[in-house]
Symmetry: D3
Subunit: 242 residues, 6 copies
């Protein structure tokens, strides 16, 4: 039995539920998926500010997961907030959804387009593509300029689909990476319209996390990702002392 904890870094519970469904839909029968939202954090993540403030909550959930015997973690926000710090805390693997989606895209094609929510997050998507080694494979990042929490709106699906079709054409790409965990439901529909693989990071991260566990692989503890040195944290963050 593998236990994967999927952490939605924002506090929108409907989105957490939907992310959990997406993860469970692709997980192996022998995998348990727990989808959670931290008790502290922003209602949605649409800026570096939001991302920075989402991280303490994510880390609380990882620390709790360690006590619960979690085998692997997925950070279900396309900016992959807190990934490095979570890797220091967790004994099992930790994957970000942008990371997993970009990995998957390069396994099924030569170049992907990212379709994301707000224009202001385009830079972050490029930063991640660079960090993970996929700057050349990432052919373009496009924003639909629909706020995260409005993605449930029926018109959103249509707008995102149209943008995906346009992105593939303009970028000469052969797959699409959806740049928001809240778009997971759109995959099948967009794939039908565009004729290319459409990748939702939540699913990809869940399966890859499961795979790493099955392969007996954990985050390396040599150097950068060793457990953080114990020390004291002051003020509101006193609870984080380890």
């Amino acid at each position: 039995m593998t236990h994967i904890k999927v952490i939605n870094p924002n506090t929108a519970l409907a989105m957490t539920a939907s992310i959990g469904r997406c993860a469970r839909a692709v997980a192996s029968p022998s995998t348990t998926v727990t989808a959670v939202s931290p008790a502290m954090g922003p209602a949605s993540i649409e800026s570096h500010y939001d991302e920075a403030l989402a991280v303490p909550g994510v880390l609380t959930e990882v620390a709790a997961g360690e006590r619960e015997g979690v085998d692997a973690y997925v950070i279900a926000c396309f900016g992959d907030p807190g990934l490095d710090a979570a890797r220091e805390l967790a004994t099992g693997p930790v994957l970000g959804v942008a990371e997993a989606a970009m990995h998957a895209a390069t396994l099924v094609g030569r170049g992907f387009s990212v379709v994301t929510t707000l224009s202001r997050t385009i830079g972050r998507a490029w930063d991640l593509a660079h960090r993970y080694g996929f700057a050349a494979a990432c052919r373009g990042v496009h924003a639909c300029d629909i706020p995260v929490l409005d993605l449930e709106d029926p018109s959103a699906r249509e707008a995102v689909t149209a943008l995906c079709a346009e992105a593939v054409e303009r970028d000469g790409s052969d797959s699409i990476v959806l740049g928001c965990a809240g778009m997971a439901d759109f995959c099948a529909g967009i794939s039908r319209v565009t004729g290319v693989p459409v990748i939702d990071g939540v699913g990809a991260a869940t399966r890859f996390a499961e795979s790493l566990v099955a392969l007996g692989l954990r985050t390396s503890t040599r150097g950068e990702y060793a457990a953080p040195p114990r020390k004291q944290y002051s003020g509101l963050l006193r609870d984080f002392t380890i």
Copy 2:
């Protein structure tokens, strides 16, 4: 039931059997693994010449796999020979073991060392690291200068292990990628000695292939990986006409 065909591009049947065992050891219960060696090809792959001549055999096996209803393929030689051509032929995903191992390494650490067989293959390993986007994550490629078919020799395991320990130190890396499908058995032992994750591409490719199938992802058919245009092949290769 997912059917994964693992193709050992050389004709060393003992190695094929061992590769099959490694793949099965990590595959999900619901996955069938078939490990094969093409009828034509080199006894082992240790040069660009060998690699070039291994490819037609690999493609024959992919073509056969398509008739057999195979869901995904693994090319089990660290040079990933024929990967692009195989992707054109196959409807399901195709993964190379170097590709999968490097992907796995970047999911569990910041920088990996590759430990391979002959010095003359070092350039190929770097080429693949560049191609897959992992030129920065690849911290060093080291050769033990033991021919592929001598890896079964008991002294080989010791020499490879020592080289891995040295590589991690010298490169400041935090994981090891084993640069030959024939080294798969060494993983656990080397991990114990070095204290870092040791990745065998056969296992990684098998699990990732399975994951892509579960995620409903296939190689994109837009552009480069569309089915090859039909045409005639002359001479010995007449059978390859499609």
Copy 3:
């Protein structure tokens, strides 16, 4: 009168005082420097975990600075924690000390060595060099493996100096960037021993921040660094709602 707020992201007040002295020592007569430490945060920053938890405190100080009419900010920890988020909040420029030091080094030489505290932070230094465009100019990153709060120890200065001399030789570099705001006092001594420019980021960031103000330049508000969208933050972070 230009007001520069130098934020030491950890809560070690002696270090904050020393950082303030370094900033004041190089600032123009017409500049006021305020050096602060957030009320919440880690005692020192030596991991991604520490860095992640330092950021909310840094942002509180920036938000306060906006109310106080601060003209520019310096984030005085070599990991430049919270730089992007701070830029979204502040109307004036925000500089990180790693950023400023690397910029300065490339203005006075062809290649620099970074000498930092713990080995586990080497990866972060490289990440920043990549992000700022200085991956090629950064010739090496070396750790003395002295914890941040032990840098005050007299033997530390000697050890750091020796490592700097060695780094210049080994890397073929022509300047040194000190990889911790707590090393600012060592500059002159190390420069005397090694014969190359030695750069402390606190001083560099203070002067460059002052320069940007004098040039009438502020962080662009077009796109990524526009003010973050207003929203609610839950739990401990409720105070961050904007």
Copy 4:
């Protein structure tokens, strides 16, 4: 007397003859050019599959060339198929036409556009530009979507010329590389229309190969390009045993 063997990797004999004429037109009087087509291989090369299957034939011709005392080889297909393996076999230099054309372009200008046949080969052209070091100098790759064997059609010349003119404008390039050995005849005409140097790889490779011979330079036998280790090849490929 220098003997250069130009190998057209496909089996279209009219194209081989035309390639031979182009090579002879630029070769020194003291150079003998032999243009051949392998007995086995695809009728034209328009996919990774075709390329992979063209390679054994190319290698047969190189092996024969070694017995005939050939001084240098040109692989006359824009994908440069089998280049690495051929270098292992040959004692003299081996050049690909994409390689030679890109080298020539960077000697006469700052940035080139590649104009090729089918869209599906665009990725291969970029791969080669990256491999040879010309990713920055390559400003664009454009496909006319005319199959290789239809280039003889009078309308093809016009379409290719128009695309070249458009490419120079769009890419801001200052030279054109023709991305198919079958386009060699078009050079002069396109240069007249566009006003920029137009490079046919067959001619460039022939002259550069000749130059390397005159300079006494051969492929290095240290490491990667040493003669391949002897071994057995099974099945159809038995004849390749060395």
Copy 5:
């Protein structure tokens, strides 16, 4: 008292005067700015040829500056001509205006557009962006195709402003670097129209040079920038013997 010598490498004295005004407008009260034009050199710099011939005059001015006790130098032409050689001669820092402007742009935004004079200088701007580490931050280089000495024309300001607005849109950039020292006067106006920071290299270089002096930093004399070996120069250049 800090003495900064701003060298306009061309011999257009009106431009030298205007450059001097721009430098003085941003310099600290305690800084003296001398703006000069060499006695030998081109009337304006619009080609590699012009740039090459401007350099001896620039070096004469640096050599004179050393005798005059100059603390730092600014080379006020966007191609940064003679920067490396000047660094060998000068004991204090030397900055180019392209260099300083690009550094400033990356401190206030994520990506800049360069707007320059003639199209033929676009390549040089990209070369400098690569050299300084800002190839990724430089999102586009655009030419207004107005000769340097016609920038004083009232219509020039309008044309340059319109091009800047277009560049920001097309490149998705968040700041503008003006690619000619003769455009310094346009900054404020363009910033008003485009809403993004507009950077004039003369001002930026002056303040950064001042900052380096205040920080006690000089060009490293280890290796490349050590004083040039003494030797004889023949012909017209006899005066340059050192």
Copy 6:
């Protein structure tokens, strides 16, 4: 009859004669080689200062060559001084010896070591490798620290040879590029000792220049390398007015 003018940018006439001999030794029978030294310039080139002051003399020789009907030019100093400006002036191709040597090295191997004179020129060699696209192929740059004009000394040959052997080992390279036009005579001897191709740029540039002429290729006049705009030059440089 092809006329190639080889310009030694320094004024050491013995070196010019030897460079001329090297060029003639490899040129086609139908090629005339003229080797010249400008009337103005440094006795040898060992700094950016020397290089900057060598350029006007080089340009004088190119301008003279245009009147003499020269078909192509070689700039015979490893820093390739004045290459861009010379390309603007000349109607035929212009090649630098570093450029040509690096091109040749990548045609006969996977990675080269540069062995040069003074350590202070190492940075320049790397800059050129980056510019020409060979940063990855250049595995190391090593200095023997023998001044250019002492290379004639018998002991120099030995020292350079030993350094070459060491460089190949340390860098894992498979060819050597000699980093000074004054080392051309050493090629054969070093190749014998090291067993790898050793490339002298003078020979390579001469043959490649000849090849470009035979191929009907000239420097592109579209954009950057168009003839420089006419203008006046003041002072010592008045003669350069065009």
